[in-house]
């Protein structure tokens, strides 16, 4: 990292931009504290006179990227049902594949995936690889990593996307480390750089305070985990055709099992599982759901923050949500206080939501919360504090007492909707 003293004009824009507080002005020019500098290159881009250089040499472990082609989505299932994020990713992958003029392949591991295969094709995949085995129904790191890594090494896709779910973020880094490539976590935006034809992966860092666009120029595949609820899932088209291939996974070391496919070609692909591949015995999978809170799919969310006052105060929030047929959300503060279960938490460390309508009641609008809901179509904010930052991102704001306003809204909506 080098600051060209003669070129530096002392505008100190770089000092302000540095997220790590590593730059300061000395005798009219910028000076770097290498103890704090992480070479994130935020300063390089903002310097108006190009006085900062960060030299990066080509990696000694770079690969021949011309050998790689195709966009892959590693789809995730629970109980053989595809997660919504996977369908979102197929839609997103479709766009990327079209731009690159390449094929979109979906890969899914589980035990009974015929329906899933069809859904993936309908969503936009040109090809689907299905790997079925009883031992693959529940996610475990070792067998999944083995199957996926072997497949990637064999087929050499250029881009691999997976949902940034708990499992996706368990699997992604394991696979990327095994195959020696770069992985970008929790992306909220993907694009193709027109010139270099590489993937631009944009994601939040610094707790949501900073957005970083990451590239993986010399290694393949370019891997990303993608935040659920951000990409748009297009309408499924069940008239679409695509190739579904069943790849066998046989647990016992010896057998190379095979299965008749529903359509297309039988391909024998048998990852061998020894006990060490399984490594982890699943004792229990507990799905905690009294009423499964499905914030990510909700069209309407009524959300409560500190302004609600106490656990009992949430009843006005719940009432409004019920009348609107929506879900109840919450800020991290009230979840930490124990006023409501963490399933309702919206934000950087909670759920990301994209409803048509988000009503924020008694929520100040701290950036960590906004990170989870600022893509809502319409945001209404109710807060007694005129200066609350939530008002900066809302479509309609009400400066007032939610304990009075929310019940009034509930009653009014009840009347109006009851008339329909």
């Amino acid at each position: 990292m080098l600051i060209i003293k003669d070129t530096c004009v002392g505008c100190s824009i770089c000092v302000e931009k540095c997220p790590y507080d590593a730059l300061r002005m000395e005798d009219g020019v910028a000076v770097v504290n290498m103890d704090k500098c992480t070479l994130c290159s935020a300063c390089v881009k903002v310097c108006p006179v190009d006085a900062i250089e960060i030299e990066q040499n080509e990696s000694k472990t770079a690969v021949d990227i011309s050998e790689y082609s195709g966009v892959w989505v590693l789809a995730e299932q629970r109980n053989n049902e595809l997660l919504n994020v996977s369908l979102e990713l197929v839609s997103e992958g479709r766009k990327l594949a079209d731009e690159l003029n390449e094929e979109l392949t979906a890969v899914v591991l589980g035990s009974d995936l015929s329906i899933a295969g069809k859904e993936l094709v309908a969503q936009g995949a040109d090809k689907v690889y299905i790997v079925e085995d009883e031992e693959l129904l529940q996610y475990r790191t070792a067998p999944y990593t083995k199957v996926v890594a072997e497949l990637i090494n064999k087929c050499k896709p250029e881009i691999v996307l997976l949902g940034a779910t708990h499992n996706g973020r368990d699997l992604g880094p394991r696979v990327s480390a095994r195959i020696n490539t770069g992985l970008t976590a929790d992306c909220t935006k993907l694009a193709i750089d027109k010139e270099r034809k590489i993937l631009l992966q944009t994601r939040p860092a610094f707790g949501g305070n900073l957005m970083a666009t990451i590239i993986c120029p010399d290694h393949r595949p370019q891997m990303s985990t993608v935040r659920p609820g951000v990409m748009t899932k297009e309408e499924a088209d069940y008239d679409r055709t695509g190739k579904i291939e069943y790849l066998d996974a046989d647990i016992n070391a010896d057998d190379l099992g095979s299965k008749v496919t529903k359509e297309g070609v039988i391909l024998k692909f048998s990852p061998e599982f020894g006990d060490e591949d399984l490594l982890t015995e699943i004792i229990q999978i507990v799905k905690e759901a009294q009423h499964s809170v499905n914030l990510e799919q909700a069209d309407i969310i009524v959300s409560g923050g500190r302004g609600v006052g106490d656990p009992e105060g949430f009843s006005v929030i719940e009432n409004l949500a019920e009348v609107l047929n929506g879900e109840v959300g919450a800020s991290r503060a009230v979840v930490d206080e124990g006023w409501i279960d963490k399933e309702h938490q919206v934000g950087q460390t909670g759920k990301t939501v994209k409803p048509k309508l988000y009503i924020a009641c008694g929520i100040s609008g701290a950036i960590q919360h906004r990170a989870g809901m600022n893509n809502s179509d319409i945001i209404i904010a109710i807060n007694t504090d005129r200066e609350a930052s939530i008002f900066d991102i809302c479509d309609y704001g009400i400066v007032g007492d939610l304990h009075k306003i929310v019940p009034m809204l509930t009653e009014a909506f009840d009347q109006v909707l009851g008339e329909e």
Partner: protein
């Protein structure tokens, strides 16, 4: 029992604010802390040590100011602290970081359990833990909110988006922990004194353990930062005026006309 804890010193990003007008981060007065989930890792390790005996070694890769974080870890009950610090490590992405730390862990050797925080609050990737596990050929358990040891067996609870799964595996294993797993103890004052007097943080440069120099730092990192920017907000909405009755009326009309409800 030998337990290794990987920690990172990070700016307290929960305290960082954004200057919307300038489009910059306000970093003033934002202290450097041990990454919160790493602290949970230290607590988990020290608790197990108190239950089963053994030693806890804390390791971190960072600039020399990260010594403060390691001293705090010693004050919390860790027995040894190692800082991997070298110009050559600078600019590492998660892959290069995981490689570097794994090589150091290989030198320490003979470990039973490795704790990492699930993710750091500056990078937010959650990648380094699993990548270290891969490099060491260890099984991994991520998003762990509860852990129990029974001889050579590890029983852990792994949080899922809805619910959890309970898993069992054998030592050695790498575990990434969530904040919900425990409440980290306060560094004892006696511990702080000892961390600054009788105990020392070992500093290892790239020459102190076996590393392939081609796999270090910025040059070896498969991912690179293309650019960074502050997220901006376009919406500046309409504050509805009038009596509560008027506001409610007004709002309902607007929402109905826009077909939202």
């Amino acid at each position: 029992m030998k337990i290794i804890v990987c920690i990172k010193q990070v700016p307290d990003t929960n305290e960082v604010k954004i200057d919307q007008d300038k489009g910059t981060l306000i970093r003033e007065g934002v202290p450097s802390i041990i990454n919160p989930e790493d602290k949970n890792g230290i607590e988990a390790a020290v608790s197990l040590k108190e239950e089963f005996g053994g030693e806890v070694i804390v390791i971190s890769m960072g600039p020399s100011q990260a010594k403060v974080a390691l001293k705090e870890a010693l004050a919390m009950g860790a027995d040894e602290a190692i800082l991997l610090s070298d110009r050559a490590f600078a600019g590492s992405d998660t892959w290069a970081t995981a490689y570097t730390i794994s090589q150091a862990i290989k030198k320490i050797g003979d470990y039973d359990l490795i704790f990492c925080g699930r993710q750091a609050i500056d990078g937010d990737t959650a990648q380094v833990g699993p990548q270290i596990a891969e490099n060491l050929g260890l099984n991994q358990l991520t998003y762990v909110s509860k852990i129990e040891l029974e001889g050579n067996k590890v029983k852990a609870r792994r949080e899922l988006e809805q619910g959890y799964s309970e898993l069992e595996t054998k030592l050695p294993v790498l575990v990434t922990v969530l904040e919900s797993i425990n409440k980290p103890r306060y560094a004892s004052i006696k511990g702080i004194v000892n961390a600054h007097t009788t105990q020392e943080v070992q500093v290892w440069t790239a020459d102190d353990f076996k590393v392939d120099k081609n796999k270090l730092g910025l040059d070896a990192s498969p991912t690179q930062v293309h650019e960074t920017f502050i997220p901006r907000h376009e919406k500046k909405g309409e504050i509805l005026e009038g009596s509560y009755e008027d506001i409610v009326d007004n709002l309902i009309k607007k929402l109905r006309s826009e077909n939202v409800v």
